[in-house]
């Protein structure tokens, strides 16, 4: 139940961009969401449909691109998705370090008409 304020924010940003472009309505919204922004669940389209009623985003389609978190190996530089219960680099076995990959949460583009 954190989707509500987040969805409101998404609609606000998209409506602003739509107005600035002097368009009438938003047709689609492309969101990039890292898995560590777990706050965006399956139910977001449902919230979006309800909250967007009466806004330029009404009946817009949400396209969500998920990004899997990656660690970076400090020894060999490899970026990798970790195995469960381990942070070890698949190439050399050294524990990887956190990166920004997987923490994204932004609106990439919208389509308007």
């Amino acid at each position: 139940m954190h989707e509500y304020p987040i969805t409101e924010q998404i609609i606000k940003i998209c409506s602003q961009h739509c107005a600035e472009a002097k368009a009438d309505k938003v047709v689609s919204v492309s969101l990039v969401v890292g898995d560590y922004s777990g706050c965006v669940g399956e139910s977001i389209q449902m919230y979006f449909d309800i909250i967007s009623e009466g806004t330029p985003c009404e009946s817009a389609k949400l396209k969500i691109k998920r990004v899997k978190p990656k660690l970076k190996c400090p020894a060999c530089g490899e970026f990798f998705e970790r195995a469960p219960m381990s942070f070890a680099c698949p190439k050399c076995g050294v524990d990887g370090e956190p990166t920004e990959i997987g923490k994204e949460f932004y609106i990439e583009e919208i389509e308007v008409e």
Binding site: I13, S37, F87, D95, E100, Y106
Partner: protein, 243 residues
């Protein structure tokens, strides 16, 4: 006028929350109040930990905001001990956010003497996932883990361990009855976080909390108190900023 056009947006959804959080952090820091965001799963001893730390503060004046989905039991409990605790109920939401804290702080009275320091403890909603993703204006993110939850917590909830500024391992009085693998736990912690100090504590015996209180008071003493100016200043107390 019915052509479909693509607009490049590239805007972070959390920008507004992060902006308010930055304001709260700067504003309270300038007034000598260190904000501690306390997170941990339900029942790990977040409220017990607050009481234990507050009892052991030597110089800083404590304040508390209790986040809870709907009850105010912990707040009543703290108030009955003479601790200035305020309640935020999220009515379903699984984490606090910066606007909630910004509003609550407006209602509170931080009556500090000249140069006196305060520590505002904010007990977040019991949950290891969402609170790690929402900054609420804290200077210090304090993570409470326990020996009873098992040694694999860093591997299951890496973001919480990555973002923590200080980590407490609570309920160490129960170690004799459990098979907590401290080495495996610490290996996971250090893969994710090279700098956060880790303190072993017990809410039952009180061990370890004097050191935690001293560490927090050190952070409070290091705040740069100055006349509040509007706008958003520098970022020096803001660790682990992910954008």
């Amino acid at each position: 006028m019915h052509d479909i056009r693509k607009l490049n947006v590239m805007e972070n959804v959390m920008d507004e929350n992060d902006h308010i959080a930055e304001h709260v952090r700067e504003h309270m820091g300038a007034h000598g109040v260190l904000i501690v965001n306390e997170m941990g799963a339900p029942g790990v001893g977040k409220t017990t930990t607050l009481k234990n730390i507050i009892e052991r503060l030597q110089i800083a004046k404590p304040f508390v905001i209790e986040g809870d989905i709907e009850s105010d039991l912990d707040t009543k409990d703290l108030n009955s001990l003479g601790i200035a605790a305020y309640q935020i109920n999220t009515f379903g939401a699984c984490h606090l956010d910066a606007p909630m804290i910004d509003h609550k702080i407006d209602e509170m009275d931080f009556d500090l003497e000249d140069k006196e320091r305060g520590i505002l403890f904010i007990e977040n909603i019991g949950n290891l996932v969402c609170p790690a993703e929402f900054t609420i204006g804290e200077h210090v993110l304090m993570l409470i883990a326990t020996v009873t939850e098992g040694s694999d917590k860093p591997y299951k909830y890496p973001l919480a361990f990555e973002k923590a500024d200080i980590i407490l391992i609570n309920k160490v009085d129960l170690i004799p009855y459990l098979d907590f693998d401290e080495e495996f736990f610490m290996k996971g912690v250090r893969a994710l976080n090279k700098t956060a100090p880790v303190f072993k504590v017990s809410g039952k015996t009180g061990e370890g909390y004097a050191e935690v209180a001293a560490w927090l008071e050190g952070r409070a003493a290091a705040l740069d108190i100055h006349e509040h100016h509007h706008g958003h200043g520098d970022d020096e107390h803001h660790h682990h900023h992910h954008e």
